[in-house]
């Protein structure tokens, strides 16, 4: 039987112009053998719908202009309703230190701030043995 290819959703708000990091990580994830669905969103429910339709294993949200806490809250709620609580959610970009606690409470699995290397993200996902 073929080994399952890990599918990752990489997304950011369509009003956030900072996409240099998420684009780079996306190409590196491909080189590491993952399938990456690269898109953007206006409302949080789009992330949930996309995650469901694409049956992703990981959701990567890129946020460099704040607003991520309400989005992640809505995404978590939406995923729960779909019974998809086990999707790994990682956050990348510029996130204030103060938000770390809230993110932890929300069950966000990891935060990759500025200076993160692609290797770190790839190793993290691989270590989860999806």
């Amino acid at each position: 039987m073929e080994k399952k290819t890990v599918r990752i959703l990489m997304t950011k708000a369509e009003q956030d112009c900072h996409d240099r990091g998420v684009r780079y990580i996306t190409t590196k994830l491909r080189e590491a053998g993952f399938e990456v669905i690269y898109t953007n969103f206006l409302y949080p429910e789009e992330i949930v719908n996309t995650a469901v339709q694409e049956d992703v294993d990981v959701i990567g949200l890129s946020s460099s202009t704040l607003g991520h806490i309400p989005v992640l809250r809505d995404v978590k709620d939406g995923l729960k309703k779909e019974g998809l609580d086990d999707i790994l959610i990682i956050l990348g970009g510029v996130v204030p230190d103060d938000d770390r606690e809230k993110l932890s409470e929300l069950g966000i699995d990891a935060l990759f701030g500025p200076g993160t290397t692609a290797g770190e993200v790839i190793d993290y996902i691989k270590a989860k043995n999806i």
């Binding site: 290819t5 190409t27 080189e31 993952f34 953007n40 049956d55």
Partner: protein, 342 residues
């Protein structure tokens, strides 16, 4: 989630179950694929499948974005399969077509699924066919399948789609040449996108010239003059006309003899593919597990045996039948192996 639960969820029309089943199909475990298709296949037949093919850069995804918009305005439901190339080196892929139609992620009546070609020629595989059938099972009115833009005409799309749209850009000279190769199959609707660019009219003219020649060789039992639609997916020009043509093709071809023959041909092709694939898997496994290959290979390398003789012996061992490759050859009306060098 177990396969049973997924199938149950599918029966209830749940998107999550359907999408998980699509993932299972991609894994390619025959037993699971068989079970899924057992349930799904008999209940298909609701959807009209539109294939969108053509070279990269022609704007297929933007075009789809517009088509979906208009289809939804007519209150029809939509399924979309977007195929992007898998890297042959890493096995990974960036599936980036969805971003062109991302606003439809808000629309519950639109189901979009991105797939990597995963080594299949032209990007179409059992997984794609299976995904289309699942969307059909979910009773989507239209299913759009966008294939990998390989620069060549993607003939395999015809095995899946009812209407195939070949999308080109103005000035795509090389592609028009390669059109000749595939035009016998891909000839329902032609689209020249980015029609605001210079050369759009010329490109349409060139396509028409080739189409006119080929049309005479295609045996349709309904009146069909393959249209060449000029569109601009960034401004929306020409899209409603394209959709009209798709609808027209649907009206005319749905109950035609041509389509029935095509379906029969596709069924035969699929059976043969399934059998061949399973046989191949069977043989490979047998070869690994039941045959002492090392000795046989040494024999061949040191010229004690020809590869042909060695294969005869192996086949006999695996097949376990009173049948050698030579007898199979006879069955095909060919000279048996032993007699060939005479």
């Amino acid at each position: 989630m177990s396969l049973d639960k997924m199938l149950e969820g599918l029966k209830e029309g749940k998107v999550g179950a359907a999408s998980r089943l699509m993932t299972v199909l991609e894994l390619g475990n025959d037993h699971q694929v068989d079970r899924i298709m057992e349930e799904v296949y008999p209940k298909t037949g609701h959807s009209w499948v539109v294939g969108v093919t053509g070279p990269a850069g022609a704007g297929k995804s933007s075009l789809l974005n517009n088509l979906i918009y208009h289809v939804r305005k007519q209150e029809k439901t939509v399924g979309v399969i977007l195929v992007d190339p898998t890297s042959p080196i890493s096995g990974g892929a960036v599936l980036g077509d969805r971003i062109r139609m991302s606003s439809f992620s808000r629309d519950e009546k639109v189901f979009i699924r991105s797939m990597g070609s995963r080594g299949s020629l032209g990007g179409l595989s059992i997984a794609t066919l299976g995904a289309v059938r699942i969307l059909d099972y979910l009773k989507k009115d239209f299913i759009f399948v966008e294939t990998v833009g390989t620069g060549q005409v993607d003939i395999n799309i015809c095995d899946i789609a009812d209407t195939v749209c070949l999308v080109l850009m103005p000035g795509a000279g090389d592609v028009i040449q390669s059109l000749k190769a595939g035009i016998r199959e891909v000839n329902d609707i032609f689209v020249v996108n980015k029609c605001d660019r210079p050369g759009a009219e010329d490109t349409a003219f060139n396509i028409k010239a080739i189409v006119d020649i080929v049309e005479k060789q295609v045996d349709r039992d309904f009146e069909w003059d393959a249209p060449i639609c000029l569109t601009n997916s960034l401004t929306g020009d020409g899209i409603t006309q394209l959709l009209e043509k798709i609808n027209e093709h649907y009206q005319k071809s749905e109950n035609s003899k041509y389509r029935k023959e095509k379906k029969k041909h596709q069924a035969k092709k699929e059976i043969v593919e399934i059998i061949l694939r399973k046989l191949e898997k069977f043989f490979r496994r047998q070869l690994e597990e039941k045959i002492e290959l090392d000795n046989i290979i040494n024999d061949i390398v040191f010229k004690f045996k020809s590869p042909q003789r060695a294969s005869e012996e192996i086949f006999f061992k695996i097949a376990g039948l009173e049948l050698t490759l030579s007898q199979l050859a006879e069955g095909r009306g060919e000279e048996p192996f032993e007699n060939r060098n005479a």
